[in-house]
């Protein structure tokens, strides 16, 4: 299974019902596979940061075994709109 920004984006959208996903392949900056993701998902509502990140980790459990470095930003749709307005 080759992990690409596309495959991550698809999985997050499909399995977590994310409304907006941005995946940046940051591998060129690092020595091995790394990704930076922004996930906007209504399921994050009311959940503390750690819980949100763990949800993502669970969703991408298989991929994370291969990925060396992983950055994530988890927002609710409301937070996302607020951030865009800034």
């Amino acid at each position: 299974m080759s992990i690409t920004a596309e495959s991550l984006r698809n999985k997050l959208t499909a399995e977590m019902g994310a409304v907006h996903v941005e995946v940046e392949d940051t591998t060129t900056d690092h020595c091995s596979t790394s990704f930076k993701v922004l996930i906007v998902c209504p399921q994050f509502e009311g959940k503390p940061l750690l819980q949100r990140h763990r949800m993502v980790n669970t969703c991408l459990a298989e991929e994370l075994k291969e990925i060396h470095a992983f950055e994530q930003k988890t927002l609710t749709p409301e937070q996302w709109e607020k951030q865009k307005a800034e």
Binding site: L49, L50, H53, R54, L64, I67, A69, F70, E71, K73
Partner: protein, 159 residues
Amino acid sequence: MNHLFRLSAGLLRSGTAGLYRRRPVPEGHVSLVVARLFSSEPENSELGQLIKKDKVVVFIKGTPAQPMCGFSNAVVQILRMHGVDDYASYNVLEDQDLRQGVKNFSNWPTIPQVYFNGEFVGGCDILLQMHQNGDLVEELKKLGIHSALLDANKDEQKK
């Protein structure tokens, strides 16, 4: 009880894997602290003990003086900004067992990892967001640590 002491001493001498802070044990004398093995019960394991020993515990690549990774460096810098300089830092690059062990322990796939009062806080992303939204100052206060940024803010307001 004596047979337990002798058993622990024997295991120590045989060099059980996972002991990354070895203390020489004089013959026939065992300190109970020495019963450190990666046991099956996380709370009682060496890691379980380690994260409770200090208020702030971080597992990073490298050391605070010389971080070996951008994310680990970010954690070190953030703590420094808040004036937190009394914390325990463990270099996972020195010990592959630790590197994998801490990931299993916290059920978290990456390094760095930050613990406050024995509780897993998160990695670099989470610490950064907590720093940016003011949560970190609050969490440090709960630990009894007065963030340096509070003083910086006070100075700003006096002007």
